[in-house]
């Protein structure tokens, strides 16, 4: 009997039921896909880690190198270090690598190096996670480049550098745990020992070293790192902990998973709102039914079950469909993982973990429905049958009388006052519009922020036309001097400032010494936006990056003292300001040149410059061969994500508007017939509903924009604070935010209303009036 009632209810409210069902299914589908991705990620990461045996500490170095010293150090710290191995890298410029039709890899932001497979650990693997064993004349190319340049196994690359020239056949993809990710700026090509020796003999590339340590399970990485630097061992480059590679590898897939989980949660909210809307819109009708059921003696529990079972059945069906289809959908997202982490994603964890999504959605929907159904408890049979009484009780002071309307046509005014009269019903629509606007505006703002010149401020860089980086070469100091001389004499350069970054010992919060990269130079030439305080302009002043100033770093505020060791003496510096920086792990500092330079620990030089008016920046850039590594690398990706967000938002707006109007119109059909019998046209009715809906939309857009500008900014800042930028100010372009987006949404929603209102165009009014 109950089943029959549910069946009837389904067929009576086909469209409404279908829409709610679609939302629940989508929520499960996306939720299950996201958990599936996470499960795959966890399993494939651990699998990859097992085969690749990554180093726990990797010290990069260029210059003098003595293996004997390293061996001594290793022996001395045997309690921590299990294995040590140094990988020799021959670094080449992208333009030295030719492929396809006279193409080269010039212009890549990645450092390219040729290496031989390690013997003990940090293995570079093939796509089956087997240790690569490259034969003479062959090369294994990093996945990043295979993808970037559309290379295939069997293709050839030609390495040309000075006198050296050799053709290699690509035998494998190189899956490199440590340098897979595009976030890691180096990539390793694996070749045979003989080919390597030949390359080395002809001085085909710059020699660099990866001094790697594999620690015991309980080894203390921090202790080894500090001891290493104290021992004065080769450290002419950054030190990288093992965890960072894990993070980099997981980052892009984890981000995809997070985004999908967020969309899924959003869909659960929308489905819940739809259910609430259904209840609110059909309550009057259902109340009579409830009354009849109560009158014939059904218990409260039975009545609730009629309604609850409907949503239980829907959630179970949606759960099964969503769960099963998630395995199809997930393949769309897994391509990246299959390539970079593990070709075999057949682990069992995903089946269990992604089961969480349908269960979660089921409980959310049932709980929510229960909450709504609570009101059934409060109504007696008579009250339910005579819903007039209910209204009588609730009758409040009469608001929005028709005579108050001074300017609008009466049907438009009726549309507006309806929003006020039935605010509860319209509130749901309002919330949906807020969410939709938020989904559109936030990515738009993020995109605009990343493309704005101010974005450099989050990278700890003052705004300038151009930036030249000099890093890790033996001739770095001479190059730097030469460059400065040239810049002084270049009339096309308006102004420039040179910065030197070197490593210093700094006293940490616990009183022991840590190493910190400090950049010295004149920071007034290209001013940076400081979160607090100002640039270090006087002697004894230092500015800290947000991550360095935070509790996890030195835990210092503006005005506090920082002790830095320079040339064997301790200097006390005052924190003059705190700035945001998402580069170099977020932990950087800037000091007045009077601090002095740690000559032996210079890491890199940077020259920022503004080109004089009339000069061609691109030409200058070409000339100085600089690498201004900006965030714009991600342009295309960001843009596609944003378009996708827009489409989803518009689809949600259309679907919910259609659903809402469908319910509202079927509820109002008799009232519409009355209005039409009095002499209003279908056109008037359409305008009435359009006025109400668009009014709600306007408010939704206003709140949505404000939410994305303020709440969105807060959320983005929270997410970015772990990376070193605590206060992102989103750039919102007014005409896009306040004109383009609202007009687009209003056109779409308006059209939807107009289509939905077609149902009011009936030839025979009496059919509705008399029913």
């Amino acid at each position: 009997m109950f089943l029959k009632m549910i069946k009837n209810d389904f067929s009576r409210k086909k469209i409404i039921t279908l829409t709610v069902f679609v939302f629940i299914t989508m929520a499960v589908l996306l939720g299950a896909s996201a958990t599936n991705i996470v499960a795959n990620l966890v399993q494939s990461m651990s699998e990859l880690q097992k085969h690749a045996v990554p180093a726990d500490i990797t010290q990069m170095h260029a210059g003098e190198y003595n293996q004997g010293e390293i061996d001594q150090f290793t022996e001395k710290h045997r309690e921590h270090i299990e294995m040590q191995e140094t990988m020799f890298l021959l670094t080449l410029d992208g333009r030295n690598i030719h492929f396809g039709n006279n193409q080269t890899m010039a212009g890549t932001v990645q450092d390219i190096s040729f290496v031989v497979q390690n013997k003990k650990f940090d293995f570079i693997l093939d796509l089956n996670n087997e240790k690569l064993d490259v034969k003479e004349g062959f090369v294994a190319v990093p996945i990043y480049f295979m993808e970037q340049y559309d290379l295939n196994v069997g293709d050839t690359i030609r390495v040309k550098s000075g006198e050296y020239e050799k053709l290699f056949v690509i035998s494998d993809y190189a899956r490199d745990f440590e340098m897979n990710s595009s976030l890691t700026s180096s990539k390793r090509f694996v070749i045979n020992q003989k080919d390597y020796n030949e390359m080395l003999a002809t001085e085909a590339g710059e020699l660099e070293y990866l001094i790697e340590f594999k620690l015991h399970e309980n080894g203390d990485a921090q202790a080894v790192q500090t001891a290493y630097i104290e021992a004065g061992l080769p450290a002419n480059g950054p030190t990288v902990g093992g965890k960072i590679f894990l993070l980099f590898n997981a980052m892009s897939d984890a981000a995809v998973g997070m985004v999908i989980i967020l969309i899924s949660i959003l869909l659960i909210i929308i489905a819940s709102l739809c259910i609430r809307l259904t209840f609110l819109a059909t309550m009057e009708e259902d109340l009579r039914e409830i009354g009849v059921m109560k009158a014939i003696g059904l218990s409260r529990k039975d009545i609730k079950n009629v309604y609850l079972n409907k949503y239980r059945i829907m959630s179970v069906a949606a759960g099964i469909i969503g769960y099963l289809f998630s395995f199809v959908l997930v393949n769309l997202f897994n391509g990246n993982m299959r390539l970079y982490l593990s070709s075999d994603l057949s682990g069992n964890l995903k089946y269990l973990l992604s089961l969480l999504a349908p269960l979660f959605v089921y409980f959310m929907i049932v709980m929510y429905t229960r909450k709504i159904l609570k009101r059934i408890d409060k109504i007696s049979a008579v009250e339910a049958l005579r819903s007039d009484i209910l209204k009588h009780e609730k009758s409040r002071k009469y608001s929005f009388p028709l005579l108050k309307n001074k300017f609008l046509p009466v049907h438009i005014y009726m549309g507006f006052r309806d929003v006020g009269k039935r605010s509860k019903l319209y509130m749901l629509l309002f919330l949906i519009y807020v969410v939709c606007t938020f989904i559109i505006i936030l990515p738009l703002n993020m995109y605009n922020t990343m493309n704005s010149p101010e974005f450099s401020t989050y990278m700890g860089i003052g705004k300038s036309d151009m930036r030249i980086d000099l890093r890790r070469t033996d001739t770095i100091t001479e190059d730097f001097k030469k460059l400065q001389e040239e810049l002084i004499n270049d009339s096309e350069i308006e102004k420039y400032a040179a910065y030197i970054t070197s490593s210093y010992k700094v006293k940490n919060a616990e009183g022991s010494w840590d190493y910190m990269n400090i950049e010295t130079g004149d920071f007034s030439v290209f001013p940076l936006h400081y979160l607090e305080g100002r640039a270090p302009v006087g002697e004894g002043e230092i500015a800290l990056s947000y991550a360095n100033a935070s509790k996890d770093g030195l835990n210092k505020k503006v005005g506090k003292e920082v002790i830095v060791e320079v040339g064997g003496t301790e200097k006390s510096l005052t924190v003059s300001g705190i700035y945001q920086d998402i580069t170099n792990g977020g932990k950087t500092a800037k000091a007045h040149p009077s601090l002095g330079i740690n000559e032996e620990a210079i890491l890199w030089y940077i020259v920022s410059l503004d080109v004089a008016g009339g000069a061609d920046i691109r030409e200058k850039m070409g000339y100085y061969q600089n690498t201004y590594d900006s965030a714009q690398v991600n342009d295309i990706e960001e843009y596609t994500k944003q378009t996708l967000g827009n489409i989803i938002a518009v689809i949600i707006a259309v679907l919910i508007t259609a659903l809402f109007l469908k319910m509202l119109l079927s509820k109002d059909m008799s009232q519409i017939a009355i209005i039409k019998s009095l002499g209003l046209t279908s056109q008037n009715v359409k305008h009435q509903y359009m006025a109400g809906t668009l009014l709600v939309l306007v408010f939704g857009i206003i709140f949505g924009v404000l939410a994305s500008n303020y709440l969105g900014e807060f959320l983005v800042s929270m997410a970015m604070s772990t990376m070193g930028a605590a206060k992102i100010e989103l750039v919102s372009i007014a005409w896009q935010t306040w004109l383009l987006c609202p007009i687009a949404l209003m056109l779409v929603v308006g059209y939807t209303v107009s289509v939905c209102c077609k149902v009011t165009e009936t030839d025979d009014l009496s059919v509705v009036l008399r029913s």
């Binding site: 007039d388 028709l402 017939a673 009355i674 019998s677 002499g679 030839d763 009014l765 008399r770």
Partner: protein, 255 residues
């Protein structure tokens, strides 16, 4: 007197399932004179209300023609018909059909305020006068949920009168009311008619019909007979006599 409404050979068919249709009005011919007070009687399902809605432009006839004030209206478009209902016609329903979210006076004023050049003060004054006339002035600013059936039907009549229509159509306006309320409503309608407005009612109630000038009898979609009782005035006519005469006629006609 000239005719205000003339229906010629009107037919109304509605689809019944996929292949069938229901023929509700069968070649009905009807003429209503200006200022007439007319009622339509007949058994349930005979097509009384359908006739009322089809000649009043609320529904579309399947074939035939309807002339209102000398011009054909059955071919007019929705906008023209809506305008005509607004300006020239008033409707009263058994279910009263007031707009839920409007107060009593706003319900009444609504049709008057639809026209762009409506003088709001004049409309308000007129509405209050009508309320006074029908004896429900105290209800003016109340919610419609706060009135009785009889009171609300008076609101319905006031709404029908607000634009000074040429004709008022009533579909069983007293169908849901007790005898006292019925009498009050009929007395108001009689006054309205006295002032020159044509009134056409559909009713089951012989007592109601006895107060109208001409009674039409419908059966199976046809107008089968009519009886003229002449204008009723409480002063001069004995209502009992009219009722008896009508009852006798109805029995004769097999109703």
């Amino acid at each position: 007197m000239s005719n205000i409404l003339v229906a010629r050979n009107i037919n109304k068919k509605v689809p019944l399932g996929k292949d069938n249709e229901l023929h509700i009005l069968k070649n009905v011919n009807l003429e209503i004179e200006e200022g007439e007070f007319i009622s339509v009687m007949g058994p349930s399902g005979s097509g009384k209300s359908t006739l009322l809605y089809n000649i009043s432009s609320m529904d579309r006839i399947t074939s035939g023609s309807v002339e209102f004030k000398g011009s054909e209206i059955s071919k007019r478009n929705e906008e023209e018909l809506a305008k005509m209902r607004l300006k020239n016609m008033g409707f009263i329903f058994q279910d009263i059909n007031l707009l839920k979210n409007l107060s009593v006076i706003d319900n009444m004023m609504f049709p008057a305020l639809v026209s762009k050049d409506a003088d709001k003060n004049a409309v308000n004054q007129k509405a209050r006068k009508l309320l006074e006339m029908t004896g429900i002035e105290k209800l003016a600013d109340n919610n419609i949920t706060q009135g009785s059936g009889g009171q609300l039907q008076r609101v319905g009549i006031c709404r029908a009168l607000i634009n000074d229509p040429d004709i008022i159509f009533g579909d069983e306006p007293t169908g849901a009311l007790d005898s006292k309320a019925t009498e009050e409503i009929m007395s108001i309608l009689a006054d309205v008619n006295q002032n020159g407005t044509t009134v056409m009612l559909v009713t089951h109630d012989a007592k109601v019909a006895a107060k109208t000038e001409r009674i039409l009898l419908m059966k199976d979609g046809n107008l089968v007979a009519e009886k003229k009782l002449g204008k009723y005035t409480a002063k001069h006519d004995d209502i009992k006599e009219r009722e008896e005469s009508l009852m006798k006629w109805l029995v004769e006609k097999g109703f």
